[in-house]
């Protein structure tokens, strides 16, 4: 179980609430823009620190009253809204960035290529991010987040810049990976239709409150 | 990024080669290092050449404002001899222990002159005329020739009229340059600096109008051999050969 409790102050904005998510399934986080969805993800990555706050992944405590793990020590894969691909590195080097550093360079590159292929981005290895289309960049960013073998996958509006057919395809792939690897996954969107489409577990965030009433509708085939 | 990393060792090597931290190579007969006031520029270079020809001892000069040179000597500047335009700064360095009081001597008397680009004004009193719009002198706060200039103007009774038209230069050498470049109409400067300038452009100022400019020297530094060499040069400077050159540059014998 992924358990998150936050009380987070960022400037004038405050986010509070509790969230629980099961492994091996995508949990959709939906709510209007500015509600605090991104802040919720940031709290889980450890890039911001809710006070007080609690982030527990299976038996691992990422944050509680006594402890706070910095982002680099958390098994998290984060795809921000802007994707944030490193512009000075190729797709392969982007993906290899997160791979275990104890491995030899050649082995890291191999894993990166594997991850790219698994994300449907084979053939893009040498490309620079600025030359990638929206859909291609999404896949590379996803591959990069997954290459690290995270426990928790955080996706911030991953389908926003894509057109319809691509959306379905990518959403399906994401779900497949999450189910196959047994990951925890939060998929953030402001689009109610999209949330509907994705189906599964839904958590609502509105006006800085994580509403503790998930609507468990069961999986719907796309 | 990798290219930068590769460039670093090359750059470092280059810096070392260019001698950034390598100590100066010792020469067979190390040159004598003399710190001298700016007004001595022309005269001392001639002196240095003559001394070198006669004794084989090379001398290198660092010219500057006496006040700053004295400060540097107090902070350990490696000069062997300090030739100042007056006694005050030399005594400072002796008091601080940088220079030796036993070798202190007045080696010449300086003279003040009125210098202009065309025809020089006949006297100090003539400076009262409006046509001398900018009058250059060395800064009286720290330059002996500047102090002498102010004293002379007061004694001649024209300080009130000329005062507002004074342009201060940071050294008497710069005051000469102000005049020769046309930035000042006239200057009160050192006789030793007018050198090749035609005689009608400068006129001696009556020495009675200002306190005597007693150019003083002292031997400095801790190395015994270098001090002996510096003292030898100082003696030569004050002897007949040195005196001949100094006189040629307009210095007078000390009284």
């Amino acid at each position: 179980m992924l358990g998150v409790t936050v009380d987070l102050q960022r400037g004038n904005f405050r986010l509070t609430g509790t969230l629980e998510a099961p492994a091996g399934a995508v949990t959709v986080v939906v709510g209007p823009s500015g509600a605090g969805k991104t802040s919720l993800l940031l709290a889980i990555t450890g890039l911001v620190r809710p006070r007080p706050g609690r982030v527990v992944v299976d038996e691992a405590v990422w944050q509680d009253e006594a402890r706070f793990l910095p982002p680099e020590e958390r098994a998290v894969g984060w795809v921000p809204q802007s994707l944030a691909l490193f512009p000075h590195l190729s797709a392969r080097d982007n993906v290899a960035f997160g791979v275990e550093r104890t491995l030899a360079r050649a082995e890291r590159r191999r894993r990166a290529d594997e991850a790219l292929a698994a994300a449907g981005a084979a053939g893009l290895e040498e490309r620079r991010p600025s030359t990638l289309s929206g859909g291609e960049a999404q896949r590379v960013a996803l591959a990069r987040a997954l290459a690290r073998r995270p426990r928790v996958l955080l996706l911030d509006e991953p389908l926003a810049a894509l057109d319809r057919p691509l959306r379905r395809a990518l959403a399906t792939e994401i779900r497949r990976v999450v189910e196959r690897e047994g990951l925890y996954a939060l998929h953030v969107t402001h689009d109610e239709e999209e949330a509907e489409l994705l189906g599964g577990r839904v958590v609502r965030v509105e006006g800085g409150r994580v509403l503790a009433n998930p609507l468990d509708r069961g999986a719907r085939s796309p | 990024m990798r290219m930068l990393a590769r460039a670093l060792p090359v750059t470092a090597a280059l810096a070392l080669v260019c001698g950034a931290t390598v100590p100066a190579v010792a020469e067979v007969t190390p040159p004598l290092r003399v710190a001298a006031a700016s007004d001595l520029a022309g005269a001392l270079e001639a002196v240095g050449l003559a001394y070198g020809r006669e004794t084989g001892q090379k001398i290198v000069f660092s010219f500057g404002s006496s006040g700053l040179l004295a400060k540097q000597l107090r902070e350990g500047a490696p000069f062997d001899l300090f030739l100042s335009a007056d006694a005050r700064f030399v005594d400072d360095t002796i008091a601080s222990g940088a220079c030796d009081g036993r070798e202190r001597a007045v080696y010449a008397r300086g003279r003040l002159v009125l210098l202009a680009r065309g025809a020089a004004p006949p006297s100090l009193r003539a400076l009262g005329e409006a046509r001398w719009r900018r009058v250059a002198i060395a800064n009286p706060d720290h330059a002996p020739y500047g102090r002498a200039a102010v004293a002379a103007l007061r004694a001649a009774g024209v300080y009130d009229a000329v005062g507002p038209r004074l342009v201060y230069a940071d050294s008497v050498l710069r005051a000469v340059q102000f005049v020769s470049s046309g930035n000042a109409d006239v200057g009160l400067v050192a006789r030793s600096l007018v050198g090749k300038i035609p005689a009608e452009s400068w006129v001696l100022v009556d020495a009675a109008l200002h306190p005597p400019i007693e150019q003083t020297l002292a031997v400095c530094g801790r190395d015994v051999e270098r001090r002996m060499a510096a003292a030898a040069f100082a003696r030569w400077l004050r002897g007949p050969d040195g005196r001949k050159i100094l006189t040629a540059f307009g210095f007078e014998e000390p009284r």
């Binding site: 990555t45 890039l47 | 930068l4 810096a15 260019c18 100066a24 290092r33 520029a41 902070e75």
Partner: protein, 220 residues
């Protein structure tokens, strides 16, 4: 025309650029951190302050601080066997002090121009703050940092007042091109001065041209 002072100036400028570059970028990184710390802008102002003070005056104070009449200066001399003032190391120190504010200001702006989300993502990918800095933030600020170094080099090459006070104008040892030019002018040797000025200016112009080319391109 003797080229000794020119080589000396080049060597000193290179060494100063290396030192001012590393210290300056480190300082810039400390100032460019997102975590606001008390007195940050005060530190920035302090580092930039040397630009405001006339170089000869600044040199005067540095000389007082490190010369034979100060405990610090005497400590340096007993530690290293030689004082730092009136030596080539002193000339490097003077040029470094002059160049440091330029490096810090320029490098800070360059570092702050890097999208912070990129550094954040690097952290989530397992990079500790130091690796995130060297592998992501610094390379992306690369052009600005190189521009900072070029500025530092040009400034160090042309330093006069600080060098004159702290290192002295000692022929063969610390008489840099700038000092030699000044001496030549003061002595009326205009041709010699003009020659040195020409070379020094040429190097300066090439450096500044490089800076312009590097900083013209916007991130893309």
């Amino acid at each position: 025309m003797t080229l000794g002072p020119l080589w000396l100036s080049l060597g000193i400028a290179l060494a100063s650029t290396l030192i001012a570059g590393s210290v300056g970028v480190a300082l810039a990184a400390a100032l460019a951190t997102r975590r606001r710390f008390v007195g940050r802008e005060a530190v920035d102002a302090l580092v930039t302050a040397p630009l405001v003070v006339p170089p000869t005056v600044l040199g005067y104070y540095v000389l007082t601080l490190l010369g034979a009449s100060s405990p610090l200066g005497r400590a340096i001399e007993s530690l290293f066997g030689a004082p730092i003032v009136f030596t080539r190391a002193g000339a490097v120190l003077a040029a470094t002090i002059g160049a440091l504010p330029l490096v810090v200001k320029t490098a800070r702006a360059a570092l702050e121009g890097v999208d912070p989300t990129l550094v954040d993502v690097a952290r989530t990918l397992g990079a500790r703050p130091l690796r995130a800095f060297f592998a992501v933030r610094l390379p992306l600020a690369g052009r600005g940092v190189v521009a900072a170094l070029t500025l530092a080099f040009a400034r160090a090459l042309g330093d006069f007042g600080l060098t004159l006070m702290v290192a002295g104008d000692i022929p063969g040892r610390t008489r840099t091109a700038s000092l030699a030019i000044y001496d030549a002018l003061a002595a009326g040797r205009e041709a010699e001065a003009a020659g040195l000025v020409a070379v020094l200016t040429a190097v300066g112009i090439v450096a500044l041209y490089g800076v312009n080319r590097l900083t013209r391109r916007t991130v893309g």
